[in-house]
Symmetry: C2
Subunit: 404 residues, 2 copies
């Protein structure tokens, strides 16, 4: 099949990452080089900007501005949480026809891949020539086929660095500290806190991920054991951590939680879960090791996904690459799909990209494999080996304890 000539559209969807615009700029710079993409329209706020025809002509954007946009967190075109139904998709498709759009690039997670898949199927049914390429982004790192996703490395670097600082804060003024990390279903980001450890006594001392059910009894016994031994305890808890009955602690705790239009319950943007665990410790474990207990909680919140100037270089480069490759695949291949990465070398970190069918990315997500989790409260060396190259170098720190 010959390469289609026509216009292209690109949109961004779902939660921000610190490198999502690297992918956008990757698409723009590659599209500028190609003949088969005539106009490249940027849709404002994802699918909403498509149906409303709110477009930014992206080939005309000056390079100097693109360079700054590439290192700006959060969707530069605007994002959306809207999940289009059949009617909505039909409208999208009409706009595509009207504007001779032959290429549809959609940057997002599994929900966005599903939207792309539905629009693509509609085009096929109508016999309308359309190439649909999904470009992955999610700090959750939970796409099924992808070794990892752009956005994760930078969020993981932020979490690991925050935990390094908090470990020294906690050493300096000992107590129990609870840190809530993003991750609704997958524990990858919370697990990244393990990268903060340099010595045996460094925190986080306990790491809880959604994949391991956590009972109140186990939690309190864990905290008491660590505190009795070290006189302090630093804890990383995923916002999606669940009780043994399978229900998320956040759900059990809250009475009036909001739901977004994907049926997801609001876990972020509130400090309630951290305070819940801190209060549990204060109430049920008031006096371990015979000392008055100092318990604090922080919720890392939106900083994890949108803190500027502190990205993983590997992550930024890979986010750019998957954008560039999306345009290359659109010319070379007559299949639609999601740009994925896989490792090509067992001895050192090296990746290649490939195109995976949209239906392998859409809807369902991936969980942490069992070999990454230990004892329901710890993360293994296998995860460290997996995550370290994605995060890159962390701030160098030191302690007088090293003199011992």
């Amino acid at each position: 099949m010959a390469t289609l000539t026509g216009n292209a559209i690109i949109g961004q969807s779902g939660g921000p990452t610190a490198v999502i615009n690297q992918s956008l700029v990757g698409v723009i710079e590659e599209a500028k080089k190609t003949a088969h993409i005539q106009e490249l329209f940027g849709a404002r706020h994802g699918v909403r900007g498509i149906v409303n025809e709110q477009f930014v002509p992206l080939k005309a954007v000056p390079d100097a501005l693109l360079a700054r946009i590439a290192q700006t967190p959060a969707a530069a075109l605007g994002s959306t949480r809207e999940k289009p139904d059949a009617d909505y998709c039909h409208k999208i498709f009409q706009v595509f026809e009207k504007n001779n759009i032959r290429y549809f690039f959609y940057i997002g997670g599994n929900d966005s891949a599903d939207t792309a898949r539905i629009v693509n199927d509609l085009a096929k049914q109508a016999g309308y020539q359309l190439r649909t390429i999904h470009i992955p982004k999610t700090i959750d790192n939970d796409l099924r086929v992808h070794d990892h996703t752009p956005g994760f490395g930078s969020a993981a670097k932020f979490v690991a660095a925050a935990m390094i600082g908090d470990n020294y804060d906690n050493k300096s003024l000992p107590g129990v500290k609870v840190n809530i990390v993003m991750g609704r279903n997958a524990g990858f980001l919370t697990a990244a806190s393990v990268l903060a450890r340099k010595s045996k006594t460094d925190g986080p001392h306990l790491i809880y991920v959604p994949e391991s059910p956590l009972s109140e009894e186990k939690f309190l016994a864990d905290v008491e054991r660590v505190y009795s031994k070290l006189g302090r305890c630093l804890i990383a808890i995923s916002e999606g951590v669940a009780a043994p009955d399978g229900k998320a602690w956040a759900e059990k705790m809250a009475e009036n939680l909001e739901e977004d239009s994907h049926g997801n319950i609001q876990l972020s943007g509130s400090g309630a879960l951290g305070d819940f665990f801190a209060n549990l410790i204060k109430k049920k474990l008031p006096n371990p090791a015979g000392k008055k207990l100092r318990v604090r909680a922080d919720t890392y919140g939106y900083l994890q996904r949108s803190f500027p100037g502190f990205v993983s270089k590997t992550d930024a480069a890979e986010a750019r690459l998957v954008g560039q490759m999306a345009v290359k695949y659109s010319a070379e291949s007559d299949i639609d799909g999601s740009v994925a990465m896989r490792r090509t070398d067992a001895s050192k970190y090296q990746i290649e990209t490939f195109l995976t069918p949209l239906e392998t990315v859409a809807r369902e997500t991936k969980h942490m494999p069992p070999e990454f989790i230990a004892d329901g409260n710890n993360i293994t060396k296998a995860f460290i080996n997996y995550a370290k190259p994605l995060v890159g170098p962390l701030p160098k720190v030191g302690s007088f304890d090293e003199l011992k």
Copy 2:
């Protein structure tokens, strides 16, 4: 008076900063060069380490380790919130006599300066030759005589960068976002969020500091006005913000707040205040501009004071400098005091250090001057001019809105 020869002790006290160990290392490297300081003992966890004689011999620490410790957040010697009474100070003084300690360096805020002052007075009364030098650190920036304090610039850089990211996050997925910033009595750190603004529509759109009483009515009217105009609203609120009756909102809100041993109420280490303001908006302002309101809250928490690898270069250098100068002053001068900085040039940023009497630093703190605050919800150009050189360059970002 001839320079005293004897041993020296150094301790760290109060909340962590990202550069507090720069000052510690400044003292160590300068002490290594001097003859009048024979041994330099590091007291573990401030005054507690003095009375328990838990010392680290600091002149023997290898330079390579010191280089790493200098860039490690939070007191490397350990900190304390203990405020010694007369008995306690007497014990400190006994340890000084026993170990021939003639120099007492204490890194901390106004509470630490007060401790230093009391110990110093006790020595004077006993006719014991002692030089007491307080070395300033506090992210609150609230010491009375000091133009600014080491630790503030780095915390301010973190807050400004976080707010830059959150501004783009909020543009990307519009809604109302409340961010709680540290600062019990002084609004300097919350005010630093203003540095995130590049264009007229950039957030934070509302900035509330403890110096300006805030009524529920004003708060809701402000939010409604901004949201109606921009379709979004990014808010920075100081943890110490007070109601018109002078009571902190955190106090009004909470029933079971902890107090530390200085009589300070626990404001940090909980997401409650942010959630309180978010819920207030949800409840009383459910539907401004005819749209369902998306309201989220983050509490920046301990990250502000202990995030590694993201310090202000100016702040780090000045923190080192005040440590070095403390040792120099101890040799040259027969007076005790706190090492302070003042600006020496109106046209460009330049500082010099001087020694100010301990009683000018102890106990009372400084507030934001009225010329830094506008309309009870904004921060002025005068503050921006004051704070910018302390924070240094911020991450470069860009938006397609610049094309308009």
